[in-house]
Symmetry: C3
Subunit: 197 residues, 3 copies
């Protein structure tokens, strides 16, 4: 037997043996990798917007657009007072019971009438904050919301809050996703960044 | 030496060599996998409940029960004003110094007397929120707390806050876990969802 | 050729061939491992301090020092009202326009003049909270800030907020990092714990 013939024979032998031993090993390693992979996260960010204060909603959109610009799949879950930020300007409210009407009167009519969490002074805080941002050419809430849409930020209106406050889909902006805490949680568990604002 | 005998010998050699090299590779991969696994998270959620506002505590329990229902090991860390949500109704307060008494008078006596973060109107906000939720058959805070217990949500009372406000274990609900920021952090570092409410 | 010489030659051949054939598998597994690793997190924590309330800023520093003590690389991003916590005591303010002056007057002059989120009573809440913490020998905000520095907690002043409120670097503490939402996001995406306070 010549050396080259011998070599070819060994190559074949090795190929078959590697294949045989690797099959089991590969399966084991793939299994272990899959188990570790299940413990990882997606490039995603999820923000609960609970507050209806202009300054906090602004911060929410600044972070959300920042996350989306950084390449994260970003979703915002608007619940409780945060729902007000999604109200369509001048939309006719649906039929409401007396409690719903009280809530409606006591909460902002749209993103343009949100107050601030500090320095309210009967709305002066929000007016000042908006004027200051305009002077400094910082994006307004409405501009940030448009930017968020462009960056495919998912905006989820909390259906439990809508139900509790008697807010209908007709009163909210177009293009929203609707869901409850389970919808939020499905996004949150796979997110790198989870915030409650 | 016949070719077949030779072949058998080489086959054995190949099998052992593949096994040997795979063993080393396996050890290396196991090490690398373990290193990557250390960078992963558990199916867990950790919520700091700093606020003592009814609406925020409610949101905390809605999210916590939602997380637990989604299969996450869930813990809530009640600190600062959030501690009020854990107060037992009608529990006799332990001996308090003057500052502790002032804090006691100025903070809610139990979950049933928490106010809201918005629309307070001398407590009207909380009354309205509770009535609205009842009308809509949405779970009350006390129902959500019972649900959280059933779902094995861990409730940690912040011992530093208890100490600072002069709150004793006797004034708090049964079945709580007690701990400080280190206890919280041990849960938080391995959580998929970390929120501050 | 003697059998032993032959054996050594074949052993070498087999070893090299096994190595060669395994190389592709190793490369494949390394690639898969690297892909999973990209989905993991660092031992890091990132806290947005949006609030300028003494109690909330305190909670932020308690958690930040707790995270750093637990071995996490910790960063705090001070934005909006949170910026006040970083103001140097008695620093001369730079030239401000009328809106900036109003903001300056209406926001705290340094960490020592922050109010509380609850029980304000014209500043009584903060005084009480500080006195209570002193009586209980709990670290003050200034002590916690010093501790945070010692533990290498990175403190980032939000440049957008500085610009919006007309706050200059000279008015802020020394040793800060400066950056916007992109700076924050770079830390947040690799963090185990992300909070918004």
């Amino acid at each position: 037997m010549s050396t080259s013939a011998h070599s070819t024979e060994v190559q074949g032998l090795v190929a078959r043996e590697v294949e045989r031993q690797l099959a089991a090993f590969r399966e084991e390693m793939e299994g272990k990798l899959a188990a570790v992979r299940e413990r990882t996260v997606d490039d995603a960010a999820t923000i609960v917007v609970f507050s209806g204060d202009l300054d906090k909603v602004l911060a929410g959109f600044v972070i959300a657009t920042g996350a989306a610009a950084a390449g994260l799949e970003t979703s915002m879950f608007f619940t409780f007072w945060g729902l007000s930020a999604l109200k369509k300007k001048g939309a006719a409210a649906g039929p409401k019971n007396i409690m719903e009407k009280m809530f409606s009167v006591m909460t902002p009519a749209s993103s343009e009438s949100l107050g601030t969490s500090k320095m309210s002074f009967f709305g002066m805080g929000a007016v000042m904050l908006r004027k200051m941002m305009k002077d400094k050419q910082i994006a307004t809430l409405e501009e940030l919301m448009a930017m968020a849409r462009d960056l495919n930020v998912k905006m989820i209106a909390c259906t439990m809050s809508m139900d509790a406050m008697g807010v209908s889909k007709e009163e909210l902006l177009d293009g929203l996703t609707y869901g409850g805490v389970a919808t939020y949680m499905a996004d949150a568990v796979r997110s790198r960044v989870t915030l409650f604002i």
